[in-house]
């Protein structure tokens, strides 16, 4: 990516408050490719945020998050300039983060970099994981407490899902990708995404409702 900083074309291209749901990645990438340093920095921050959430919610290993964030950062910086179709950037980014997270786990425990290697009983929320902070700081303390309880219950429920279902829920529900984009990242048909998502939702609901 060229380091030369040109005058910013947009004040806040692709801006969103938090998370990935409302971010216009294509706009952000175009601005970054045009030399907008603020856009590049936002893109690099987004890639790290996604890697952190992926580590926590899909892999269940927050202790791997720093490695995954570093890997996602470098890949995004090196390759952002070469992406010809900005519309395809978001799926590229999620595939990259997925691979970065799997590689960092493999490095740490010597596992093969395949998603199903992250499956099974070994998955747990490790002691150092920090829950994501809820966006609305204006909530009452009892609401904050209840939300924290629900968030932890959701983390546990997510980790109880089969790995591919967990990945689908993460991409579709947490990150807000379209069904088509989820299918592209996971490598299955859209119909399959919908079926698995429905089953995963039912399973999550059951676990969250359990006393």
């Amino acid at each position: 990516m060229p380091a030369t900083v040109t005058k910013q074309a947009h004040a806040n291209p692709g801006v969103s408050r938090a998370g990935s749901r409302d971010t216009d990645y294509a706009a952000l990438l175009r601005a970054a490719q045009a030399g907008n340093q603020a856009a590049m920095e936002r893109l690099l921050m987004k890639s790290q945020e996604i890697a952190y959430r992926f580590s926590l919610l899909v892999c269940g290993h927050a202790d791997d998050a720093d490695d995954a964030m570093q890997e996602a950062l470098l890949k995004t910086y090196r390759h952002a300039a070469q992406i010809k179709d900005p519309g395809a950037f978001r799926t590229w980014l999620y595939r990259t983060v997925k691979n970065a997270c799997l590689i960092s786990r493999r490095r740490r425990v010597g596992e093969p970099a395949r998603l199903h290697s992250l499956d099974g009983d070994s998955l747990s929320l490790d002691g150092v994981s920090q829950p994501l902070e809820l966006e609305d700081p204006g909530r009452r303390p009892d609401q904050v407490l209840e939300n924290t309880r629900l968030r932890r219950a959701l983390d546990r429920a997510l980790l109880s899902l089969p790995p591919e279902s967990r990945l689908i829920v993460f991409l579709r529900e947490v990150e807000g990708l379209s069904t088509r984009d989820v299918a592209a990242v996971v490598g299955i048909s859209e119909a399959n995404v919908k079926t698995r998502l429905h089953r995963a939702r039912l399973s999550l609901r059951e676990r969250l409702e359990a006393p």
């Binding site: 938090a18 749901r21 945020e49 952190y52 998050a65 964030m69 829950p131 994501l132 809820l134 968030r151």
Partner: protein
Amino acid sequence: MKTAAERQCRRLLEQLSRYIDGDLTAVERKAVAAHLRRCPCCRTMADSLKHTVELCHEAGAARLPADVTRRARARIASLLASDRSGRSRT
């Protein structure tokens, strides 16, 4: 042997995600809505499933812990600075 009502509830359960996602045809949507009005059990199920989905959405809107954000910003600054210094040497 399942009753007609049970079969209807079963069919609705299969369509519930698509209903929540607004992915049904107008005719299907009306049929599901009508069933939900009649069947309190399915209505509870639909509300609960919707709540689960909303909870996942909230997780996506959550902020990262402050120290994680600080480290992320520091990484970006370091990367951009090393790239600039590399370019100025060449």
